[in-house]
Subunit: 89 residues, 2 copies
């Protein structure tokens, strides 16, 4: 088994309202920042997963995203995976 | 002026409690996922910024992070910057 380090980026789907992004945009304007376009706020979840192979790790994290980490109706997700050095083979 | 696309990753500092990460870890265990290590939840904020150069865009976004986007006591941040095609030079 090796240890994989996964980062899941969960973002609101394009076109859907993002109230937190709107609030940040408004606050930046209040602070005097002009020329700031659309602001969107998503989540970046990092987790460590044990798996026999990279493919297995990716499949497990993808399943976690569909079951728990992302809302399939309102959010998109993207998984970045890297293998830790010194795993137990 | 060119349009730059910035992604700011804001993460809780190592060693600080991350209740949202703990909750996700617990929920994953309840769903039967063993072998999941530490889970940490951060924010991924994407924004578009107009600036004359890449350096200026980076400096502006860094200032935004220090003033608004990240809490310097409890959070770290990292900025990724890319230039949009077809900006107005």
């Amino acid at each position: 088994m090796s240890l994989f380090h996964a980062t899941v980026r969960v973002t609101p789907r394009p076109g859907l309202l993002d109230p937190e992004g709107k609030a940040i945009h408004h606050a930046l304007e209040s602070l005097g920042y002009d020329g700031v376009g659309e602001v969107r706020v998503g989540k970046a979840i990092t987790l460590e997963v044990e798996a026999a192979s990279r493919d297995e790790a990716l499949a497990r994290v993808d399943e976690m995203c569909r079951k728990l980490l992302a809302n399939p109706v309102t959010e998109d997700y993207r998984i970045e995976l890297s293998e830790e050095e010194g795993g137990t083979p």
